[in-house]
């Protein structure tokens, strides 16, 4: 058994009196590729926001790599080896695709306080940025303004920026949201390929059950901020509770649980 890279312990968070994450506990093993599913409003994105420090939890612990990171600011969690890609594309639109990745590389190497060398002359960093762009297939668009890319490519760039941070744990919030069915499977294949090659632990949120059951080693089902079930795709598909709440007859996710 690999060691746990992430342990969430009794995590709770409420917004204006509404409990969004309710005494949630689970563990993520190092090297795992796992999915989080659940209806809208189950608290999936909030969970990511808590783990990465965007929100401060009301109570509970988030142990990343042996250290409690609950309430640590995002830039600090990033430095510890956590990165995320976003549900809504979240890039630097008026910078080129290359600059998007370069800026992440610069931060990864903590060279932001270099006031003298033009960043365009940091050849090593550019080489690294090109490698990353190549790994998501965006090399040809390196010099384009990232805001002008098609939606699918912007999502890929978002992932590339996260990869540039060389994370130990990568959180992907609906990496295929808003993509066409073809694009979806390409992206999923890419994510799986990256996971295999980079040996990075990945947790992704996804609404498409075919994808979730197709690639994840482990699935966690979130409902009302609580863990409804956890297990391999086979265990989940046989789990009566899960079937009852929404896998059952309607494969639609947005039903209340």
């Amino acid at each position: 058994m690999a060691a746990d890279i992430l342990r969430v312990e009794k995590l709770s968070k409420s917004f204006s009196g509404r409990l969004v994450i309710d005494n949630l506990s689970f563990r993520v093993a190092e090297g795992e590729l796992s999915a989080i599913i659940g209806p809208n409003g189950a608290g999936k994105t909030t969970l990511f926001n808590l783990i990465t420090g965007y929100h401060v939890p009301d109570s509970g612990k988030i142990i990343f790599n042996g250290q409690n990171i609950a309430g640590l600011q995002p830039f600090k969690t990033v430095r510890l080896g956590l990165a995320r890609a976003f549900q809504r594309t979240n890039i630097f639109p008026k910078m080129t695709v290359l600059e998007n990745v370069v800026s992440a590389c610069i931060t990864r190497q903590e060279r932001n306080l270099n006031f003298r060398t033009p960043y365009k002359k940091l050849t090593q960093i550019h080489q690294r940025a090109y490698e990353i762009l190549d790994s998501v297939g965006l090399t040809a668009m390196a010099q384009r303004l990232s805001g002008t890319l098609a939606h699918g490519n912007q999502k890929l760039l978002d992932i590339a920026v996260a990869l540039a941070l060389e994370p130990r744990l990568l959180l992907l919030d609906e990496p295929t949201a808003g993509m066409s069915p073809d694009e979806r499977w390409q992206t999923v294949a890419l994510v799986k390929d990256l996971w295999e090659r980079l040996k990075v632990t990945m947790v992704f949120i996804e609404h498409d059950m075919d994808i979730v059951f197709g690639i994840s080693q482990k699935i966690r089902v979130l409902c009302y901020g609580n863990l409804l079930a956890e297990g391999t795709p086979k265990e989940i598909s046989n789990n009566l509770k899960v079937i009852e709440v929404y896998l059952g007859e309607k494969p639609m996710m947005d039903e209340a649980c």
């Binding site: 830039f75 979240n90 630097f92 800026s103 270099n114 960043y119 365009k120 550019h126 390196a142 920026v161």
Partner: protein, 332 residues
């Protein structure tokens, strides 16, 4: 592993246009160095124009300093005059009351402004957007009131007059002195903007939340940028006090903070030299209008408003952006 050979520079510019760019810049600099000697031959109007161009140089530096946070950092400060004023008062006080030499006073100006920016910035970067702007305004008005009330130290609303000027600084020499300082500052700011630090600042402008998620300590970098911008503004203020040979509360007034914002908008916020073009344009326009017809100055606010309206609606990239667009079209 991939091994892509690349020359990062050729990715961005065509080498040919870069050489052309350099030659044009060098020529322009030479023209500005010769200018006062030509003007000096024109008698009294010549001296007046030397004074005007010196003022343009100083105000351009002030506008460029603001643009470090405004255009490159995306922080709209309504209180940048605070640092301009601190610089001006530093020079006036040191030279008048402590008989300090010019260079020492001018070195102290950006330092004192930076100290003010350290304190003011520490509070301001905790806020974003309009709240940030309003707090900068509040701090600068606070300094304005202090200068206004502290009669024994700052001379209150009379200001500090009769700042001594070293003998060798004839109008022409002072012009050249300011030009050299200006060019050094441009060189420094250019380095800053093109550096990793500059790119980091741009990521914050583009998307503050995402910047946090690539590991940027947003507040710290905004603070640092605020301090640097404040220091340059302080230097501009110091030179301005020496140009006018006085410092007065008006240097700290909020209307003074508006000038570099307008200059940046008109000239172009997203380029280094935009604010310089903007201030030169606005200041020259005002003088030309004034000389064409005295009455026109009364309509200055309307004229300025119209220019801004046109700029914001049709040329968000300012004059520099407009020129770039035209060149692009010409080249197909």
């Amino acid at each position: 592993m991939l091994n892509i050979k690349l020359n990062p520079e050729t990715n961005i510019y065509e080498p040919e246009t870069k050489t052309r760019h350099r030659v044009a810049t060098a020529l322009l600099i030479v023209v500005f160095f010769i200018l006062p000697f030509v003007l000096a031959h024109l008698g009294r109007t010549g001296v007046y124009w030397i004074w005007v161009t010196t003022e343009i140089i100083i105000m351009s530096l002030f506008a460029m300093s603001l643009n470090l946070i405004l255009g490159f950092g995306g922080m709209v400060s309504f209180g940048h005059a605070a640092f301009f004023g601190v610089g001006a008062y530093t020079v006036a006080l040191l030279m008048k009351k402590a008989a300090a030499p010019l260079l020492l006073a001018l070195a102290a100006a950006p330092l004192m402004a930076a100290v003010a920016a350290v304190i003011i910035g520490w509070f301001c970067v905790r806020l974003t957007g309009l709240y940030f702007s309003i707090l900068t305004l509040a701090f600068s008005q606070l300094l304005y009131m202090v200068a206004f009330q502290w009669y024994t130290f700052t001379g209150g609303d009379d200001g500090l007059h009769g700042v001594p000027r070293p003998d060798f600084l004839s109008p022409t020499n002072f012009y050249l002195f300011c030009l050299v300082i200006f060019l050094i500052c441009v060189w420094l700011m250019r380095m800053l903007v093109n550096s990793s630090f500059g790119l980091t600042i741009r990521t914050i402008r583009e998307n503050m939340d995402r910047a946090k998620f690539i590991g940027v300590n947003v507040r710290f970098y905004q603070w640092l940028n605020f301090i640097i911008a404040g220091a340059f503004a302080g230097l501009a203020g110091g030179l301005f006090a020496q140009l006018n040979r006085f410092a007065q509360t008006e240097f700290l007034h909020w209307s003074r903070s508006a000038e570099p914002i307008l200059a940046s908008l008109v000239g172009g916020m997203y380029s280094l030299m935009g604010p310089t073009v903007g201030s030169a344009f606005l200041m020259c326009l005002r003088i030309v209008l004034q000389q064409a017809h005295k009455g026109l100055v009364e309509y200055w606010a309307i004229i300025l408003g119209l220019i801004l309206l046109v700029m914001v609606l049709f040329a968000p990239g300012g004059l520099i952006g407009l020129v770039q667009k035209i060149i692009k079209k010409k080249n197909g």
